[in-house]
């Protein structure tokens, strides 16, 4: 077990979150560094995710490290029945850091228990994806200049969307006000509302994606409403267009409003929003690179302050 592993956003404190954001900002200004010279990082993608894998591999390459790994478990021994434990133990012999994505929930936590090599969770099923949360936080921080006292509107699939759940947990330190906009079938689960109640976080729930909600927001976090989430297909047909964002809906929104989306988007953000300066989802994905550079350095115990001096 390595204490620099990152499995869940709730593993790290407010101070660590703030330090990671500062370091992400440093990497945005100075993306190329040879601080991973001689280090080898494994990217083990038991489930394909091109976007996340390329972002991690770019982060390692820009820091001067080397990458080994696979992008699809069907070409590895796990397709022959090798256990996750054995795969992790074997790879640990070769590398300084393991970045892993797995289709099973809890896989990353288990991996930390079978090796002393640090593990970064790049997504485990519907469970956790902390580097996505860090890039969301960095995007909010960068566009708003602060994480404190913001009104954040979450729209779409609030029931199954792990990104909204993790973001909600991470924002607990920063006195947010949440608007939860979703249909009944996909509304925010009770456990997260209880979490807000316990932490004294203000929230309101809405079925309508109304002008009032939009105009009060500093951040609108859009998510995709997926057909397979519905038990009743009629219900899906009824709600599928209710939570779509069009450019005209932003006419009276705040100047500092930014639209975020974890991507890939389908129809929930109309193409006509893309040219609005408040659309931020493509830059958001780019911020993932800097956030991951900061997280990789944390996992390898590299002090950025020392790097800055040299």
């Amino acid at each position: 077990m390595n204490s620099n592993s990152l499995v869940s956003i709730s593993d790290i404190s407010k101070e660590e979150i703030l330090r990671l954001l500062e370091n992400a900002r440093y990497f945005e200004e100075n993306p190329n560094h040879k601080i991973l010279d001689g280090k080898v990082v494994a990217t083990l993608f038991f489930e394909p995710s091109t976007r996340t894998r390329l972002s991690f591999e770019t982060a390692v390459n820009r820091l001067g490290g080397r990458v080994i790994g696979f992008s699809d478990a069907s070409t590895t021994s796990s397709s022959k029945g090798e256990t996750l434990k054995d795969t992790i133990k074997m790879v640990s012999n070769y590398v300084d850091l393991i970045v892993m994505r797995h289709y099973l929930e809890g896989a990353a936590r288990y991996a930390t228990e079978v090796t002393d090599t640090p593990i970064i969770n790049a997504g485990d099923g519907a469970h956790q994806h902390p580097t996505q949360t860090m890039l969301d936080l960095y995007s909010i921080y960068k566009t708003q200049g602060t994480l404190d006292n913001l009104t954040i509107t979450m729209v779409g699939d609030l029931k199954y969307g792990r990104t909204v759940h993790s973001l909600l947990m991470a924002m607990q330190y920063f006195n947010p006000t949440f608007n939860f906009v979703a249909c009944d079938e996909l509304k925010m689960p009770a456990e997260y509302k209880e979490f807000c109640d316990k932490k004294g976080i203000k929230y309101t729930e809405h079925k309508d994606f109304s002008q009032e909600v939009i105009n009060s927001s500093d951040i609108i976090y859009m998510t995709r409403v997926q057909r397979e989430r519905f038990t009743d297909i009629m219900e899906y047909e009824k709600v599928k267009n209710l939570y779509n964002l069009h450019n005209a809906m932003l006419d009276n929104s705040k100047d500092n409003l930014r639209i975020l989306h974890p991507l890939p988007r389908v129809t929930e953000i109309d193409q006509d929003v893309d040219d609005n300066p408040k659309a931020y989802y493509f830059q958001q994905a780019q911020n993932g690179l800097y956030a991951r550079q900061a997280i990789i350095c944390r996992a390898l115990n590299i002090d950025i302050k020392e790097v800055q001096k040299s």
Binding site: T83, L84, K85, L104, E105, G106, A107, R109, Y110, H127
Partner: protein, 152 residues
């Protein structure tokens, strides 16, 4: 018949009696404690009348004193169970089982996509609510109450 049963009970010179187990979970408790593997005298009674529980089960094991941690493993399904330790026909110790903070390797996680259902490994749960006896999977975060929990 009654006299014979009482005799069998009284004959326990040394060992452990676990009383006040709800009837519905008696055999789960037997399994958790590994009683099937013992070769000493074991008496199991079930559906006995109980003022507290309506119907209760009881387990009497001769010549064995279980470690505290082993006995506490049944607290999840039988929080009302009472342990009596018998030495030389006397009850020398009597206490209720205690729910531990962590439950390792008894409960099966109800989430089919949890790593614990797909790797040869022990499950691990943390008790998150003692009042309603709710436990959460250490790996996938899935929560269940003791009434829904599947014993592995």
């Amino acid at each position: 018949m009654t006299g014979k049963k009482e005799l069998a009970v009284a004959a326990l010179q040394n060992g452990t009696v676990i009383d006040h187990i709800p009837s519905s979970v008696l055999f789960d408790a037997v399994k958790i404690l590994g009683i099937e593997k013992l070769d000493t005298h074991v008496t199991i009674g079930n559906n006995l009348n109980s003022k507290k529980l309506g119907k209760k089960g009881i387990i009497k094991v001769a010549d064995v004193e279980f470690p505290e941690a082993t006995l506490n493993r049944i607290a999840l399904i039988a929080p009302s169970a009472v342990v009596n330790i018998i030495r030389d026909f006397e009850v020398v110790e009597k206490h209720q089982v205690q729910l531990p903070d962590n439950i390792v390797g008894i409960v099966k996680c109800g989430n089919p996509k949890c790593i614990t259902n797909n790797e040869p490994m022990k499950t691990r749960f943390e008790v998150v609510d003692r009042e309603n006896v709710t436990i959460r999977c250490h790996y996938c975060g899935h929560s269940v109450t003791n009434k829904e929990a599947q014993i592995d």
